[in-house]
Subunit: 471 residues, 2 copies
């Protein structure tokens, strides 16, 4: 799979990172001599943040190439993404070239927020709008607008790289999200200009309040809840009439002059000038990853999109012990000592137990039917420090199995093969309705015994049976 | 400390819960015969969600009383909060009464979004606006408008119950956040009315995209980052001119008729009708707690407000062993077996180790100076299942101390005194710069030895020195 990225700024670089980290080869075309450096910076942010969303390893990165010739870059690409400046004459010229050069099955898409598909295709180009949001490598939303059959094919491809395609029912200037953003932006300029609040105070009005609601539910579902048992009609009856009596400023356009630019740029410096853009980007990314990881627990919004994508990521292979977990360490797993906190060694080993349960047939359906394993005891040895971004793998050996008791030994390995930690764990098979131990059914016993037999010749791992502080 | 809540709907109930769970007595005045039931439902949501924000226990709940007589409810209150329907004549009547009845130092505040302080005080009432956001017990933002000295006192009190006061520099219709919300609401109605998208699709355009950005940074800081190294002026230069060319619909008011109400209510039913309002509330609350807990890691936005509040919550008392942790179990700590996941037993025990380190002088400053303890080994026994919402405490016994090695035994207790789990842990004192073990300084040794001496007569705890699977 190969993607061609035309225009390598913040948006093009974000596209490149999204494809590359999902295993696609990426060919860049951008005449800017700085393109390679700029894309490298976006990629380094993406490598730092994106894998932290998943509790599984992402695919091997694809191959990144830079091309001076557009037709070289486009050759063999299944996806061609244009992210050049918002000038219609430039877009017309490039999309005419892309339509001529790209294979007949290639999707050709523009990142434009300013133009509708009917404008882009007016001179015969074969193009849809695929409008992403910054940072493209983390935010799932993509607005698709244009030919329905092409948009449907595009949606499948984008879902495969972890995105959330939203196909518009009709084209409209600025699509959906930017219309909402423009409305807020205009009103915000008035509030600043009139001295009601500063840029920092306005940001606080968002992030301490409705911003937290919108990260998970959006506007209408939030208001449905606010309407209470009486429902959406009741809410509309309350809030609707305010529209007949609009607050004046909302309807006017503020005069956009140097004084307004200086006022806002100055307040923004006061608010955020103590951090570089690079620091702000990393803070933003860490927070985005944290928020989206939190939403995985309920599966709401972006959390649901990540769960869907994660389920499609391949399970690691056995070699020779089963590899029961493989993942990169998120930034949020580090603590005040500058390394992965002790809790997350157990978190990854616990996921390894979950995976081993799946391997012996104790999957979600099995648990739903009322049987499961509970952990009775864990012993963890912390042998090496681990840092954010590292790839960890876990292998699992069966120490013993009798009746209701299954004893496992997880080895947590760093990328260089060093043992970062071990965890010995005792699991008891349970009847979830009675909340009592119970014998597992025969098919599960058979699968456990297959693992025991396969591992019969292995030595007992170092550290098994150890008590805390043993010499 | 006593708060009087006048009007006990969703907003008044949210205020009651916020004060009550922060240890204030709360007196309710609401002539609605259903008030007690309604407030009970809000309180039950709040008790389920709010304590999950904190890694410490909240204060003991205050006393909740209901009053038929307004002056009884107001008597002795330091804070009086009015949340009655948005009719100016009703507000005038109530605030005249409250001004007469309340003590001279009491803050009298209105939850109004529709009226400015100048309107509320036009007939002599002593009132400020303290405008909260639903759910009041979780969202930190409060807009304060009115007399500056009163707003400053109000801000201190609200910060003390975990809120984020935002004081407006000038009064304006609808304050700040609702002006932004109104702008988005109007534009959204157009998008639905014109068939560009459904309510669900519009919500997705928010929650898979800019909603995730706004939960942490707001508008201006997000755009500052988007502007890149060129900064805010560069961003303004790009985005600003679009204002001169406004998208038409933004400027018009859509006709608000039955057809529009039916269209939106019908789409909202399709989107969310499979869940009751109560289920949606709990989903919203679990997500809010998850998002805000994630933001604690960076301290951004709401995460910072929670950290500040948490630092003010009292540490538990020793009895006779030091109590090194005390907290309620968040909803997000439960797993597919319907109980607290094994990982979080270690998480709370790890916090207990952190607290014990503080008690022997190894606090944040000590770690910053380059010394700390690392965990070398943990052994956990899981003895009882624990459920979301339960209060857990941890006591810590020193098993042994020699040179660089400190061996602790944490006992995790349920509210009924039963032992839920134990964790034996071996800590090594480290030089953080050399990343090597090192002897602790004398003052730390002295404090450890004080604990050893104080616990000299205690028996060795059951389970200490145990290996996994030992009979």
């Amino acid at each position: 799979m190969r993607a061609c990225i035309v225009g390598g700024g913040v948006i093009g670089g974000g596209w490149a990172a999204r494809f590359l980290l999902n295993g696609w080869d990426v060919a860049i075309y951008d005449p800017d001599p700085e393109a390679e450096r700029k894309i490298g910076e976006v990629l380094s942010n993406a490598r730092r943040a994106l894998p932290g969303l998943y509790d599984k390893a992402m695919p091997e990165e694809g191959r990144l190439t830079f091309h001076d010739d557009l037709s070289d870059a486009v050759a063999g690409a299944g996806w061609v993404q244009e992210s050049v400046p918002e000038r219609l004459d430039i877009k017309h010229r490039i999309h005419a070239d892309l339509t001529r050069m790209a294979g007949p099955d290639a999707i050709i898409a523009s990142s434009t927020s300013g133009f509708k598909p009917s404008e882009l295709t007016a001179k015969g180009a074969r193009t849809i709008v695929a409008h992403p949001f910054n940072p493209v490598y983390l935010l799932p939303l993509i607005e698709l607008v244009g030919d329905p059959a092409t948009c449907a094919r595009a949606a499948d491809i984008l879902t495969g790289i972890g995105m959330k395609p939203l196909t518009l029912r009709k084209e409209i200037d600025a699509h959906i999200a930017d219309r909402l953003l423009e409305a807020v932006w205009r009103e915000s300029l008035w509030l600043i200009k009139d001295g009601i609040c500063t840029t920092k105070e306005l940001d606080d009005a968002i992030r301490f309040g409705f911003g937290l609601r919108w990260a998970q539910m959006g506007l209408f579902e939030t208001y449905r809840v606010a309407g209470g048992e009486a429902g959406m009609k009741h809410f509309m009856a309350q809030f609707g009439p305010a529209l007949e009596w609009p607050w004046t400023k909302l309807m006017d356009v503020p005069v956009f002059n140097d004084a307004l630019v200086d006022l806002i740029a100055g307040q923004s410096d006061d608010q955020s000038g103590h951090m570089s853009i690079r620091q702000l980007e990393r803070l933003r990314d860490d927070n985005l990853v944290g928020i989206m990881r939190a939403l995985k627990h309920s599966g709401s919004g972006a959390g649901g999109a990540i769960l869907t994508h994660e389920a499609q990521l391949p399970e690691p292979e056995a070699s020779p012990l089963p590899v029961t977990a493989r993942r990169r360490v998120p930034q949020s797993w580090t603590d005040y000592n500058g390394h992965m906190n002790e809790t997350h060694y157990l978190e990854i080993a616990s996921k390894a137990s979950d995976r081993f349960m799946e391997l012996i047939g104790c999957d979600a359906a099995y648990i739903k039917a009322g049987l499961s394993f509970f952990t009775a005891e864990n012993h963890i040895q912390y042998l090496e420090e681990v840092h954010a971004g590292e790839m960890l793998s876990v292998t699992t050996q069966v120490l013993s199995y009798t009746g209701k008791k299954l004893q496992l030994f997880h080895t947590i390995l760093r990328e260089n093969g060093a043992v970062a930690a071990t965890m010995e764990t005792l699991l008891l098979h349970m009847d979830l309705n009675a909340r009592r131990t119970a014998l597992p059914p025969d098919d599960v016993v058979t699968r456990i015994e297959e693992f025991v037999a396969a591992q019969a010749d292995l030595p007992r791992p170092e550290g098994a049976g150890r008590f805390v502080g043993q010499r």
